[in-house]
Structure formats: structure tokens, C-alpha cells
């Protein structure tokens, strides 16, 4: 019987395939991170120890550092309803075509009386140039917006709406703007809302940290 010859094989493995996979994944993650919603309104949110995730569908009120307020209607199913509701209740005289054009805008940052003229423009006004929704105590249009929103969501689950309302404020935004927003909420019987913050770990040694450990 002839001896069976076992051929000597090199122990080194071809790394090319593995390298390919690694860089494919790398490219994917780099692209995926950059595809996060492009922030038109740059806002540095404060941090809190809260760990609740921000819901996907939400009505976001953004406060920029120069005290302007913007409204973003994130619930696409109700967006058209809210816009047409405020159109009729505030007498904006918008046609159906103008309403649908308005619905395509990402966020609202104009006083109500300027909306019709802004829709006539071919290119929308740049985000930094928008004056924001007026929130002064004399002319708080956020109240009108909140009223339309509550009207559209009326009959539904109130707590669900409360979970959708988010206030996203800049660190440097002054308190009175925030207070005006809260006033608008109160006037429309919304007593619970949420604030978008940066997650932060609970400081070691604090009361909350100690009670969580038990």
C-alpha cells in the first residue's frame, strides 16, 4: 500500500475578502451616520439624565438661540389637516394648491400673515432668514397653532398627543421665549409635554444614582 501523502498547506489565509467586508461595513456606517436628518436649524440641546427615547412622529417646537420659534409637524398623516384647520380658523385664504405647497415645507417659521406671500415665492426663504413664529405675550401665534393641533387630534388619545409634543430648545435661548411657549400650551389645555435633551449619565454619588443601585 502506498503511503498517503498529506500535502503541506500554508497556514496563512487570504485576507483580501475580510478586508473587503470590513471596509464595506465601514463605508456603510460612515454614510449611515451622515444621513441623519440634516439640521437646518442648528440647536444645542441641554442635557438631562432622562433616558426616554424621542418618538419618531412628533410635533417639534424648536427654539433657536436668538429666540425664534419654529414648528415642525412630523406626523405626516395629520399635517395636511392641521394646515387646513389653521387656514380656515385664521382666515388665511389659501387655495388647495397653496396648502399642498405649504405641506411640503419642512417647518413653519413665519407669522401667519406672511404665509400667503411666502408661498407665492418660487424659492423658499432660507432657514436663517425666517423670522420665526411670533410668541410675544401680545401676539402669541403659537396659541393658534396649538389650538389647531388639538382640534385635529381631538377625540384621540390625549396622552398620545402629549407624548408627541416636543420642545427642542437651544442652550442659549432666553427663558421668556420658553415661558411663552408654555403659556400657549396651557391655553390649549396641554399640561404635559416633553423636552428634547442630550442623554447624560447619572452623576455617581447623587441621590438618584444611589436609589437606582438599590
Amino acid at each position: 500500500m502506498p503511503k498517503v501523502k498529506i500535502p503541506r498547506k500554508s497556514t496563512s489565509v487570504d485576507m483580501t475578502a475580510m478586508c473587503d467586508v470590513a471596509f464595506l461595513l465601514l463605508t456603510f456606517f460612515i454614510l449611515a451616520t451622515k444621513q441623519k436628518p440634516p439640521e437646518v436649524l442648528a440647536v444645542q440641546t441641554p442635557s438631562s439624565v432622562s433616558a426616554k427615547a424621542v418618538p419618531d412622529k412628533s410635533l417639534i417646537i424648536t427654539l433657536t438661540k436668538d429666540g425664534k420659534a419654529f414648528l415642525m409637524l412630523g406626523d405626516e398623516t395629520k399635517k395636511a389637516d392641521i394646515l387646513s384647520n389653521i387656514n380656515t380658523s385664521k382666515g388665511l385664504n389659501l387655495s388647495a394648491a397653496e396648502l399642498s405647497k405649504w405641506g411640503k415645507r419642512e417647518f413653519i417659521g413665519l407669522p401667519l400673515n406672511q404665509i400667503k406671500s411666502s408661498l407665492a415665492l418660487t424659492t423658499p426663504i432660507a432657514a436663517e432668514k425666517l423670522p420665526g413664529i411670533p410668541t410675544d405675550s401680545t401676539n402669541n401665534e403659537m396659541v393658534d397653532w396649538m389650538r389647531s393641533i388639538t382640534n385635529v387630534y381631538a377625540g384621540g388619545d390625549q396622552s398620545k398627543l402629549e407624548q408627541m409634543i416636543l420642545v427642542k430648545g437651544d442652550n442659549a435661548a432666553l427663558y421668556p421665549t420658553f415661558k411663552n411657549i408654555k403659556e400657549a400650551f396651557k391655553k390649549t389645555d396641554i399640561f404635559k409635554f416633553r423636552i428634547v435633551t442630550n442623554g447624560e449619565t447619572v452623576p455617581i454619588g447623587s441621590e438618584l444614582y444611589n436609589s437606582a443601585k438599590k
Binding site: S10, S12, M15, T16, M18, C19, A22, F23, L25, L26, F29, I30, A32, T33, T45, P46, S47, S48, V49, S50, A51, K52, A53, V54, P55, L63, L166, V167, G169, D170, N171, A172, A173, L174, Y175, P176, T177, F178, K179, K182, F185, K186, F191, K192, F193, R194, I195, V196, T197, N198, G199, E200, V202, P203, S206, E207, L208, S211
Partner: protein, 182 residues
């Protein structure tokens, strides 16, 4: 590198005077490159998940003048937020002749200890933190002080945001001027 010179075994005997150029393998060791690739992947995976924004719950009371909550002087601590991330506080009620002793100024770093000390030295039923924000304080301050309440495990309902009185506004203004805070 491990794979570089595999083709040229050392034991080849060449004839005298024959100069043969060494045949070098074109293969490069890819292991470090793979290492680097995966390192970057791990980095990106971690950074994407960690920078998630969170939502903080806010509960506002109903404006009901008929149901005013009375707070015991002994259990009340008023926290005032001013310009330039300054925090002012006093216990109980302001008394005209003892203003300078009552009204103290501090920072966000030190307020936690004061809050906890007050909490531990007061029966829980009497405990009440009253938060008042000045018109020059920022949104960050308002959120940070509420976060401090959560961090110090003050039960909900034992702290509330209230509008500032003119006396307090004046006191803050005077203190700010005295301390040179712009």
C-alpha cells in the same frame, strides 16, 4: 512580514557569477488593514448609538387661582435663576430686614448639595422647592435645575416653577451689579 518572501527559499544554490534578481511576491499582508477597518467600524457603531437625544417629561400645573397651594415656610426653598448661569436661593419667605442674610448666591455646581441638604433636613410632607427663572436666564438653566431635582431624587410635586416677584427681580439685579455679572 509573514508572506513576503515565500517564493525564494534560502537553500537555492546558484552558479558562480550568475546574478539572479530575487523574485519578490506581490502579496501584501492585509491583516493590519483589516484590523484598522474593524476598529473604525466599532468606533462608528458606538458613536452613532451614543449620541441619541432623549426626551424629558414636563408637567405643568393648571392655572387655578382657587386652588392655591400653601407652602410651609420651614419647608420651602426658593431657587432663582439669573444671568450668566448664576443661581440664587433662600429658605422660607423673604423678610425685609434680613434680606442680605437670607438671599444667597451660588452656582449650578454647588446647588446640588444645598438641595440635598434641604431635602434631608426637612420632613418630606413640608418639602417644597420653588423655582423662579429670571428673564435673563437661559433655557439651559431652566432645564438644568429641573434635572437637578431629578438627580437629587426630589419626588414630583415637591418642586414647581413660579413667576418671579418684582422684589426678587430687584434683588437679583442688585446682586448681579455688585458681583459684576454681565
Amino acid at each position: 512580514m509573514a508572506e513576503m518572501n515565500t517564493s525564494s527559499g534560502g537553500s537555492h544554490k546558484k552558479g558562480p557569477g550568475v546574478k539572479k534578481s530575487k523574485k519578490q511576491s506581490t502579496r501584501v499582508d492585509l491583516t493590519p488593514m483589516v484590523d484598522l477597518g474593524f476598529l473604525l467600524i466599532t468606533f462608528f457603531v458606538f458613536t452613532t448609538t451614543m449620541s441619541q437625544s432623549t426626551a424629558m417629561n414636563m408637567n405643568e400645573p393648571k392655572d387655578d387661582t382657587t386652588q392655591q397651594l400653601k407652602v410651609k415656610n420651614s419647608g420651602a426653598m426658593t431657587v432663582l435663576l439669573g444671568k450668566g448661569d448664576q443661581v440664587y436661593y433662600y429658605f422660607g419667605q423673604l423678610e425685609a430686614d434680613k434680606l442680605s442674610q437670607q438671599f444667597k448666591s451660588t452656582t449650578f455646581k454647588e446647588i446640588r448639595k444645598i438641595i440635598v441638604d434641604k431635602k434631608n433636613g426637612t420632613p418630606i410632607g413640608d418639602l417644597m422647592y420653588i423655582i423662579k427663572s429670571d428673564k435673563n436666564s437661559t433655557f439651559k438653566n431652566a432645564i438644568d435645575i429641573l434635572d437637578e431635582m431629578t438627580i437629587s431624587a426630589v419626588p414630583p410635586g415637591h418642586y414647581a416653577e413660579v413667576d418671579m416677584t418684582p422684589t426678587e427681580e430687584l434683588l437679583i439685579k442688585q446682586t448681579e451689579e455688585a458681583n459684576g455679572i454681565k
